[in-house]
């Protein structure tokens, strides 16, 4: 989906927030368009929940504005905002049954009883839990509670649904099922999702747009493909998927020296003899016979992972991570070859500060 020509539904302008003198979100700027599935992705403690709470109205930013549909809602209390939240730990009302939980928002809005009953039935069907009206939340499994929390939010027909690691507590199988269910729900209801996760695979599978955060800064905003294939910096490359991140020297346009061997690449404009970081995904490293490769190495580890073999290759003093459907036994001497298109060159951060690329810098680049 392409959202670039759409007007933003939510605009976070220059948001900063600190707790106890510690800066948690630093001058953050973000636009979210109608119907977009935006995922905030980042390591634990990077400020994802805090940002979501600012959008939901549970936290006021120290500086900056939250614009919703062209209106400034920075100081609007949560009960007056046209969005609903699915909380990180469900937050179901334990003293009410499932039906009453789902009806809560509608009863507050004084909807007629038959409308409410209809909505409960519809929502329960949507989350595949028909007939659970009379159950108490504490008699439900984690996944079922999760789905009730989602049902409770969506019956209010919010324009935006905020989801804070809604699948965090579920096992892999259930998580995958729920991922499909959420995408189906979103398409059926046509609402904007702002989704928080620290699971990069989940982010890649579900989102239209991924916002990679670290320490309160946005590191990169892009489509899943863009973020995976063209990480802006070493943090993003390392955080999204597994990768080999290696110090290298850009000899000239389209030629890079990695661990003493020269590789052809496709990037230009880095200047001559400039230190850079290169990212090479494990599946992009080709293992060949010793003579056919650009770099020579020895297999040091071999693990069968089902779909592929995972190998570690010591070459040029670096432990390369390699995924391949073919395998070489431990101790075998191999050659390493990389397609020029699969070598991704990144600027080296000049200082600690620059490592956390702020959004302005990103916007200037694009």
């Amino acid at each position: 989906m392409n959202f670039n020509n759409q007007k933003p539904l939510i605009h976070l302008e220059n948001i900063s927030k600190s707790f106890d003198g510690q800066l948690i979100i630093d001058e953050l700027d973000l636009q979210i368009r109608e119907n977009e599935f935006v995922t905030l992705l980042g390591p634990s403690g990077c400020g994802k929940t805090t940002l979501l709470r600012i959008i939901g109205g549970f936290e006021t930013p120290d500086t900056g504005k939250v614009i919703f549909d062209n209106a400034d809602i920075t100081h609007l209390p949560p009960n007056k905002r046209p969005l609903n939240t699915v909380f990180q730990k469900y937050a179901l009302f334990s003293h009410m049954n499932v039906g009453e939980n789902i009806a809560f928002g509608l009863k507050i809005k004084n909807k007629p009883a038959d409308y409410i009953a209809e909505k409960i039935a519809y929502a329960l069907k949507l989350v595949n839990l028909d007939g659970f009206e009379k159950r108490k939340p504490d008699t439900l499994s984690g996944g079922q509670q999760q789905r009730i929390a989602i049902a409770r939010a969506i019956v209010n027909e919010p324009k935006v649904l905020l989801l804070d690691e809604p699948l965090g507590a579920l096992d892999l199988k259930l998580r995958q099922d729920m991922q499909y269910e959420l995408i189906r729900l979103k398409n059926e209801l046509g609402i904007t999702f702002i989704y928080v996760t620290h699971d990069q695979e989940e982010a890649l599978t579900m989102s239209d747009t991924i916002v990679v955060m670290n320490q309160g800064y946005i590191q990169q905003i892009g489509t899943p493909e863009g973020i995976y294939n063209e990480p802006e910096n070493a943090f993003v490359a390392d955080f999204i998927g597994e990768s080999n991140i290696i110090d290298a020297i850009m000899i000239e346009d389209k030629l890079v020296e990695i661990l003493g061997s020269r590789f052809a690449c496709v990037d230009t404009g880095f200047g001559k003899r400039k230190p850079v970081d290169v990212v090479i995904r494990p599946e992009d490293v080709e293992l060949t016979s010793k003579e056919a490769g650009t770099l020579e190495g020895v297999i040091s580890h071999l693990i069968f992972k089902g779909v592929h073999y995972e190998m570690e290759v010591t070459a040029g003093g670096f432990e390369w991570l390699v995924h391949s459907t073919g395998m070489f036994p431990v101790g075998a001497k191999v050659g390493i070859k990389i397609d020029p298109f699969n070598i991704h060159i990144m600027h080296k951060p000049e200082s600690e500060d620059e490592e956390a690329v702020s959004i302005e810098a990103l916007e200037e680049q694009s």
Partner: protein, 279 residues
Amino acid sequence: MANLLRKKENNTFIIGSPYFIWVVIFIVVPLIMIFYYGLIDRNGNFTLENIAAIAQPVHLKALRLALWLGVIATVICLIIAYPLAYILSQTSINRYGFVVFLFILPMWMNFLLRTLAWQTLLEKTGVINNILVFLRLPPLNIINTPAAIVLGMVYNFLPFMVLPIYNSLLKIDPNIINAARDLGANSVKVLQKIIFPLSLPGVISGITMVFIPALTTFVISNLLGGSKILLIGNVIEEEFTHAGNWHLGSGLSIVLMLFIIVNMIISSIFDKTGEGNFL
């Protein structure tokens, strides 16, 4: 495996035994004695007369008054304690320590002394009336009235209402409240539909913890009610001390125990349904 289990049971028994002994000496033995004395007459024959004695007008009046003052004191405690507990639970300053300190502090002082202090304060020529007279206001004639007894009950038992409510309010996950606000509830709705129902277990245990000591007290009514106002506690005390009729005292105690048991059963039923379908 079986050995391991047995060993564990042994351990629990050893660790728990001081408590067990304490329970036997101070709870089980007195209970047995009360039932023993209550169910026999002076000649050692079985009788229900000591229990039936509750029907005598004097005793009935004392019981009714005790129930009535107990209810009033409990209601007043609840009205004061709930907002207080709510405000305390909202303040983040020094969360636990401060509150516990506030309520434990007066408890370090002897219960008798605190009640005696009220006697001095309330007396016809006591501190409060001196101040009132000095301000040219009419003096209060509260000492030796039921009002003074209720005041003493409220003063002494208020912490027992505040602490359980405060605890149950603290236990409410802030995210539950956030979720309610997120779904459109304003502060009044949040209080009415989320906070109050979820704090109900604390309210119930607070009611029990105030009502039972209020129902059975004799010290407060002795000191603040003069000798004219008799509560059932005073009657029983009288029988055990001055009248020396342990049989009648025990019989009336059994009746009072029935009221306490009924109170506890009602509160446990209410608690269960209360946690359930309150909406």
